[in-house]
Symmetry: C2
Subunit: 426 residues, 2 copies
């Protein structure tokens, strides 16, 4: 991609009214734009990050045996009356009456819709288990939106649902999802803490939250610096008390952001909505359900929160919008040679399968470097007059700041070598 | 994909209350499911078709120089007041007041939002042209939904927007989109008719509609069987009158479905919303806009409407949910050999880059064949006892019904040959 033809509206100044670093950098790097409080557009660069995270999720969902579908945003409120959640979620649910007089809502989540769908098609134990998921926009009428895309009125979630004939099947699918979640966050460059959690409005007995300690969090968790034990505040633990796991440590409070939450729902929804199947013994039984959510837009914020310095974002390779940025610094006389090398380098690396951004704008070195640091592509190739006079170009890793000079005629090979071993494959 | 592990709830009976063939087949082939009138879920097979069409659109948008972003569904109504379209679209716009007392709506289209976004970032002629698009869910509060996903309350659209400094730039981008649309529909297996159209609620002077003659259409167009001239009814043409293009023909009315509509908007939105730039002469001018829509969900219905027989769908290769379906017909004694061959064939073709569905269900040949015809994968490989006794398997093209017997030890090569030349590459 050539920067001059791409839409990356970077900002020099920190936007007013932003407290979180991730929120500031999301706006400054031209990743998102606020339409109105709590409602954001994903600009081309931000959408690329979103898609990379979505594709990591898709791969891991496939490994966990889940199949993708796509459920509607519009939902009849009568479905929610079956489970009583029209009341439970009344504060945040957006509702309206349509032209035909139907009471409708915008889905804040999809348990009722998926249960209704599966009960239409599954009648026998032979058709179970069924594990389905979607990546979709959800809506919550938040009074207090915060930290940009972290707590918004419109946001993107991955929600998966499992339907089993027995508890054993649920435990198995729950375990598969638990493991998939670990892999997803790791591939996004995030170290998560898993804690047993309260099932809240979802219901069910067992649930786990995948948290990342970060100032954009809205939850407080307890941890022990000695043994790295983590626990939920609500589970009877308390700050300052001795850690239950080890003798040395006392528990400390830590703010964390919830990125994923998985639930063993049991039969709460299938009983309320009569989603039953005929078991091998001929008896009608309610399906045993689990549900598994990831706040996809939140993951972007958490990644930025964890990977930045004073100059901008430092994308981990797995979710970076581009793998490599090429920065030619044309002077006056020798500019054609520089531009030509930049273009050849672009073609070579693109053909080699890397996604490459070439900053071909007619801007100063200072502006180009600042923008490069701001948008945070993992590898930067600088093609400038001084190094080129000695037949060299500079390769810099955004994460560590390391630089090395590479022979201009071996730029492709050198980069492939670097990217393979050190930075691009993580 | 193994059918037994996949969620394809096919239906034997034609669902009540469906008039259009495409609507019936969408439901019967397990592609979509109706949540409530005008609101549909895409099941895994339907989502695969949707994604293939989306990816064709993405490739052609890239070729036309457009960049993808993702705008919100939620929109403040005050944006719409700037253009007066809160009144024009009042009948179909879903509106509500949120918890903070903001008047919001669900986007039936995004001209106002994109204009607001671009005006925030573009100040100079040097930043133009900008061409942006998204693939996104739109909402219309339809009183009379029809033909399933054709006229629905929630549907998927591709909408692109061009911003230029002058009329010449607009004409160029309009032409690029016009050509991209031709390629998109052709790749989807659709022959479209392009007619000059009324700009309606969008505004602007020039606009073209991409129509497919089909009974699910809601428009009437005129055509001349002699010279294949097409015209809009609204343009002063009339059924039964002589064709203006040739001497022999008289105009006949034909029902057609609109799949795409492109508009030269001019300055309608940029003036109302003050989206201005400083031109090379230092003068502030409104940006010159175009907008370009495709009803993505509608394309699926149109493809089915044009590609089916009494047994089911006949997917064109470009948008088929899978390239190849393998149907093993295990008997009693030799079933292991058949299953084993089916699995090896699956692995071989998957490794060769084809998407393959293997019907491994414990069902009769009749049920498997009926379902295969219904879901309409372009190539079917049947592995049965009789042919296998002679070392052969049967390959059948869903589109033409042609069959041929292939040596079981050369199944891979033969299939690659068939698919290359005849059916899979179109």
């Amino acid at each position: 991609m050539y920067w001059s033809k791409y839409f990356i509206p970077t900002l020099k100044e920190t936007p007013v009214g932003t407290e979180a670093v991730s929120h500031q950098l999301l706006l400054r790097a031209g990743l998102v734009h606020m339409l109105t409080s709590g409602v954001y557009s994903y600009l081309p660069l931000g959408l690329r990050v979103l898609r990379r995270i979505e594709n990591i999720i898709r791969e891991e969902m496939r490994t966990a045996g889940a199949q993708e579908l796509f459920l509607p945003c519009l939902q009849p409120i009568e479905l929610w009356r079956q489970t009583g959640r029209d009341q439970v979620l009344a504060d945040v649910m957006i509702t309206f009456e349509d032209n035909r007089g139907r009471q409708m809502c915008l889905g804040p989540t999809h348990e009722e819709v998926i249960t209704d769908l599966v009960k239409n098609f599954v009648q026998s134990y032979r058709q179970l288990p069924v594990v389905l998921y979607q990546i979709q926009t959800k809506f919550r009428d938040e009074m207090r939106t915060r930290f940009g895309i972290v707590r918004a009125c419109e946001f993107i979630m991955k929600d998966a649902y499992s339907f089993d004939r027995d508890q054993e099947g649920l435990r198995k699918n729950y375990q598969l999802m638990y493991e998939a979640y670990g892999r997803i966050f790791k591939r996004c460059g995030l170290e998560t803490v898993v804690i047993e959690a309260d099932s809240g409005a979802m219901g069910g007995d067992v649930s786990h939250e995948f948290m990342v300690p970060a100032p954009i969090g809205e939850d407080t968790i307890l941890y022990c610096p000695s043994c790295r034990f983590y626990g939920a505040v609500t589970q009877g633990q308390q700050e300052g008390k001795p850690c239950p796991q080890c003798r040395e440590g006392t528990l400390q409070a830590q703010v964390a952001i919830e990125l994923g939450h998985i639930f063993q729902l049991g039969t709460k929804y299938s009983q309320a909505q009569q989603a039953q199947f005929v078991d091998v013994d001929g008896v009608q039984k309610p399906m045993i359900m689990g549900c598994y959510g990831i706040g996809v837009s939140r993951v972007i914020a958490a990644v930025i929160e964890k990977h930045n310095d004073e100059k901008g974002i430092q994308w981990p390779q797995g979710v970076a919008p581009f793998d490599i940025e090429i920065v030619p610094l044309p002077g006056t006389a020798e500019s054609e040679g520089i531009t030509d090398l930049a273009n050849r380098c672009y073609t070579y690396l693109t053909d080699a399968g890397y996604s490459v951004l070439l900053d071909d704008r007619d801007e100063t070195a200072g502006i180009k470097f600042n923008d490069a640091d701001l948008i945070g592509i993992p590898l930067r190739i600088t093609i400038g007059k001084r190094n080129l006079a000695e037949g060299k170009v500079e390769v810099k890793k955004r994460g560590t700041g390391e630089t090395l000079l590479v022979d201009k005629d071996k730029i492709g090979e050198a980069l492939l070598e670097i990217s393979r071993g050190v930075c691009l494959k993580n």
